[in-house]
């Protein structure tokens, strides 16, 4: 142990002072069942390292020890399962903040979903800003300051618990003082601006079109049990920005060598972050392996903190002079032109194997350097993820050995290390300059006063050397880990190339490199580098895999937000809904509507209830809540002409006070919707549509009106919700409406397909004689305000006739008995009115209407088109399953050899109380000419014989209509 590390309680690797943790407070958390101490400000990773723990779990395929390899979201190694307070899989030790009561386990590459419901609340918030800055490191803070000082509306988001970015993990000075002091001043200044939203613990995870960025804020995760219940746990910020400034920094990348997966192996910059931000020494004796200057700072800082730095191994032939002098002053040996070829150790690295770079495999030249910490730096990758998501092109910069933004995007600028600008001074200058340019393009004037903090001059830089992997001296590449989380090695890449794969996209999927929780933040570019070396092509020719949202994983619960359970989709209920509930209705969903399906009495199942309801309607009287039917108010001097063009039949000739059934077709002649039309006045019609077709029909009408017939003086409005509609149906329905509305409802006084205004206790009611069952029937239309009272009065008046409320199932049976199709059930977009046996509804007089020309197409004249028929099972017992196929026997009474020709299919099928047998509607090839034939329907392993008839099986002569 070094003299500087304070053996403080049970955390022997905690420094004496420094870091951003609250040393006055101690929290306890559990790791693998063991209780450990930590300080507020710690992550699980920093707390574990403070206790000398590097290993978190084991690997997914090989079961090798896995540990902490980085200090933030790019860590490929340290995965956890959170057990308490709420189970969550696959979180990183480096990003989970500790709190009292946290309990976590290391996991072998795979977590476990919670088995209990997540009761936390999630929500979302919209922002509209001039400038969104992603990342609150030095470049991002400066960009936000420049924008805010210019009076722009600004959002600044940063994924860590506090602002500062790289300044939190280095000793960089600004204005001659530690950089974090400038960070504090900058955030305080931003807080002064009323139009600045500054969010920490907020990850911008997706960039979409037109400046739209999604960010997830972890609002209470770090509070554990202290989280207030009224605050959402996580929030999705939906940010629409005039301009996006990406200041996301850079990720250090490793060099691959044999046994590079042993815990204790870590990125060099991460060790600096653990030291400076968390006050933790990640080891006691370190070897630093680098291809560039940046790791020298880690070596110096660790040495100053008391870590024994056994060696700096630099692949380059020459060490940077100034840094070498710093190390010499600390007695740290530098070995240039050397590489780490492997490690020793079991659950923790115990030695690094150091050999000359590019030398012949020679055991004698390999030195075994003891260490418990092996720091690696293979260079830095600008975090171009968001830029790439915005479809920015990348280029490979040979000098930096990294992929960088290759172009300026409209509406999105990359600054700082994310753009390859690695000096503090350069990053600040660039952030101000680029933000000013963006403001100017948006027409905002840049602030006159916008000073930059003064950064200390860095040492001159010696060019990095590009090194992706160190070949194993023995040639065995099967323990050279490219993706330690996936246990994918250089051998796997070699195998992929051997299998003929050339694209990094294919190699990714073949090897699984880059498919783990980190999505290849450190392994992806290394895989490209190794692939390029194996293929003998430059990395620029090989390219990268595609960067897609989300940048880091986001829980589905967070994305769902408040749109769960009852709030997932609106529920529409009619004004009589409570009555239906009170009377035991079983509901079915029709679009968003809740409709009573049937009203079972005690002990009834659906079949018995529906048979009872059907019998009641055909023998007495029933009442249905038809309020969900679509209703469109069509007004204007040209309303009649308009409907003539849309319906297949003539509507303009309809007299005020009359009702007409109509069918609407697409231009292709196929049935779109049907329903009744009431002429309310000379210039006003009420169009009734199917429940499911209401919105579609209104859209259809608007489309023709606006795009083809703007000259027609017609206006449309949906009045579905305004009018309740109650069919009162059956031979005794006349008695009910006559009593309730005090009218002469005789067949002579009130004709079929007529309507009239009546009153109920001073409330205007529209009463129409319309039948969807073939029975004497009435439709009661009344304003929703009074509808419940009218319904109850109708039910009361019908009581002496045994009035029976019935649901959609009975309605379907009754209409099917009459051969009335349900559009969308008995039709499927390939069915004409003629196919439905409704040639009578197609006008021969009108010169044109939508669909007319298509009826004359040869295809629509074919006699073998599928036509609507009814099927009566000969056994009088089988209810044919809807969707069943219809087949025919050969002359010899046998099925034809397979494939057996399909003649059609069953579209509706029910048991008929009236016929005392089941029946079905079907679309059958040449069906109109097949009435009387016997065909077969396979049901399970039986062939059920069916008789083909016309589609009307009850009262084909229409005798029941007048009661």
């Amino acid at each position: 142990m070094s003299t500087h590390a304070a053996p403080q309680g049970t955390a022997p690797f905690r420094t004496e002072s420094g870091g951003r943790i609250d040393r006055d407070r101690v929290v306890e958390f559990r790791f693998g069942g063991e209780t450990l101490t930590a300080h507020p400000g710690d992550t699980v990773a920093s707390a574990l390292l403070a206790h000398g723990r590097h290993q978190t779990g084991t690997s997914i395929k090989l079961g090798r020890p896995r540990g902490i390899g980085a200090a933030w979201a790019e860590d490929p190694g340290g995965l956890l399962q959170v057990e308490e307070p709420f189970p969550e899989p696959m979180l990183l030790a480096t990003t989970v903040e500790v709190f009292d009561g946290l309990s976590v386990e290391g996991i072998p590459g795979q977590g476990r979903l919670a088995e209990v419901a997540d009761t936390a609340r999630y929500d979302s918030l919209h922002h509209h800003v001039d400038v969104l800055v992603v990342g609150a490191g030095p470049a991002g803070l400066q960009a936000a300051l420049t924008a805010a000082r210019s009076g722009a509306r600004v959002a600044l988001v940063d994924e860590q618990s506090e602002a500062g970015g790289s300044l939190l993990g280095t000793k960089d000075l600004l204005d001659g003082a530690p950089g974090v002091e400038w960070v504090a001043r900058a955030t305080a200044e931003l807080a002064e601006h009323p139009d600045v939203v500054h969010l920490q613990r907020t990850t911008a995870f997706g960039v979409y079109d037109d400046g739209f960025v999604l960010a997830v804020e972890r609002r209470t995760d770090h509070l554990g049990g202290q989280a207030p219940e009224n605050v959402s746990r996580q929030r999705v910020h939906r940010i629409r920005a005039g301009h996006v400034v990406v200041a996301t920094g850079a990720h250090e990348r490793p060099v691959v060598f044999t046994d590079n997966d042993r815990p204790g192996t870590m990125l060099a910059g991460a060790a600096r972050t653990f030291l400076h931000r968390y006050g933790v020494l990640p080891g006691s004796r370190a070897v630093v392996f680098t291809t560039n200057d940046s790791a020298y700072a880690a070596a110096v800082d660790l040495a100053d903190a008391g870590v024994e730095v056994a060696a700096v191994v630099d692949v380059r032939e020459q060490a940077p002079a100034e840094w070498a002098a710093e190390l010499a002053a600390r007695n740290v040996p530098v070995r240039t032109g050397a590489v780490v070829t492997g490690t020793r150790g079991v659950e923790r690295v115990s030695a690094a194997l150091v050999a000359p770079h590019g030398g012949e495999p020679n055991a004698g030249a390999t030195a075994e350097v003891e260490c418990d910490l092996l720091l690696v730096s293979g260079g830095w990758n600008p975090a171009v993820h968001l830029f790439s998501q915005a479809r920015g092109r990348l280029r490979f910069d040979a000098g930096l050995g990294a992929f960088m933004p290759a172009e300026d995007l409209q509406g999105l600028t990359v600054v700082g290390a994310a753009r390859g600008e690695f000096t503090l001074e350069g990053a600040l200058l660039q952030a101000r300059q680029e933000t000013r340019s963006a403001l100017e393009r948006m027409g905002l004037e840049a602030a006159a006063t916008d000073d930059l903090p003064v950064a200390a001059r860095p040492f001159p830089t010696l060019a990095p050397e590009l090194l992706w992997f160190v070949p194993d001296p023995s040639g065995d590449s099967s323990r050279q880990f490219v993706d330690v989380q996936r246990d994918a090695t250089v051998a796997d890449v070699e195998r992929a190339v051997g299998a003929g794969l050339r694209s990094p996209e294919h190699v990714k999927r073949y090897t699984t490199i880059g498919t783990a929780h980190d999505q290849g933040k450190t392994s992806g570019i290394v895989a490209t580098g190794i692939l390029s070396q194996l293929l003998g092509r430059g990395p620029e020719a090989v390219g990268t895999t595609t960067f897609r949202p989300p940048y880091t994983s986001v829980a589905f619960a967070t994305l769902a937000g408040r749109d769960r359970g009852e709030l997932f989709d609106p529920v529409r209920t009619t004004v009589v809904h409570d009555w239906h509930v009170l009377h035991g209705a079983v509901f079915e969903d029709v679009g968003q509507w809740k409709r009573p399906r049937y009203y079972p009495l005690a002990g009834e199942d659906m079949e018995t209830a529906v048979l009872r309801e059907c019998a009641a309607v055909r023998s007495g009287v029933g009442i249905l809540d038809g309020s969900t039917l679509g209703k469109i108010d069509v007004q204007g001097p040209d309303a009649g002409e308009f409907l003539d063009r849309l319906y297949t039949n003539l509507m303009s000739s309809l007299k005020v006070g009359k009702v007409r059934y109509g069918v609407m077709c697409g231009a292709d002649g196929m049935v779109l919707d049907d329903g009744t039309v009431l002429r309310v006045a000379e210039d006003r019609f009420l169009v009734m549509t199917t429940t499911g077709g209401a919105a579609k029909v209104l859209d259809w009408m608007e489309e023709w009106l606006q795009t083809e017939w703007p000259e027609l003086r017609v206006h449309l409005a949906s009045v579905t919700e305004q009018w309740a509609a109650f069919p009162v149906v059956g031979p005794r329905s006349r008695d009910v409406v006559a009593e309730v509305f005090g009218i002469d409802a005789s067949a002579e006084a009130f004709e079929f397909m007529a309507w009239r205004d009546v009153e109920f206790e001073g409330v205007p009611v529209r009463l129409a004689r319309i039948s969807f069952s073939g029975e004497l029937a009435w439709e009661v239309h009344v304003s929703g305000w009074y509808a419940a009272a009218v319904w109850e009065r109708l039910v009361a008046a019908g009581e002496r006739f045994g009035i029976t409320p019935y649901g959609t199932e009975t309605m379907h049976v009754l209409r099917a008995e009459k051969g009335y199709p349900i559009i969308g059930q008995d039709t499927d977009g390939t069915v004409t009115p003629q196919d439905l046996g409704m040639s009578w509804v197609v006008s021969k007089k009108k010169p044109d209407f939508i669909g007319k020309r298509s009826f004359a197409r040869a295809e629509n004249q074919r006699p073998d088109r599928k036509q609507l028929v009814a099927l009566l099972p000969v056994d009088r017992d089988t209810v044919l399953p809807e969707g069943s196929q219809v087949v025919d026997f050969q002359a010899d009474g046998q099925l034809p050899p397979p494939p057996v020709p399909m003649l059609g299919h069953v579209t509706s099928s029910y048991r008929s109380a009236f016929l005392e047998r089941p029946f079905a509607l079907a679309l059958l090839k040449g069906g109109s000419a097949r009435h009387g034939e016997t065909l077969h329907v396979p049901v399970g392993d039986r062939l059920v014989a069916v008789e083909v008839t016309g589609p009307v099986v009850v009262d084909p002569e229409g005798a029941r209509r007048d009661g």
Binding site: D209, D210, F212, A667, E702, E703, Q706, T707, A856, R857
Partner: protein, 92 residues
């Protein structure tokens, strides 16, 4: 989430809009004068342009009005929007 410029409401999010296919495919003056092939071409045939394409949109969850737009089918960028009865930018 793209922003689409409704000529009447201004820029709105794309989920508020419905796509209406190729623009300037007028309903034939006299459908009965067309043979089956000509009528089928009106019904079923549309251009599949790579690049600038004039198409119909409706601001379905907004003002419910139809308009025409010219859009690049490669970049999805809208170049202009205009009223249904106006001519396209190239025809002006």
């Amino acid at each position: 989430m793209q922003l689409i410029e409704c000529p009447w409401c201004g820029p709105r999010e794309e989920i508020e809009f419905h796509y209406g296919g190729q623009a300037h495919v007028a309903y034939p003056q006299d459908p009965s004068a067309l043979d089956d092939r000509e009528w089928a071409e009106y019904l079923f045939f549309r251009d599949n342009t790579k690049g600038l394409f004039r198409e119909r949109w409706s601001h379905a969850a907004g003002c419910r009005r139809w308009f025409n737009a010219e859009r690049d089918t490669v970049t999805y960028q809208f170049t202009t929007v205009y009223a249904p009865q106006e001519k396209g930018p190239v025809d002006r």
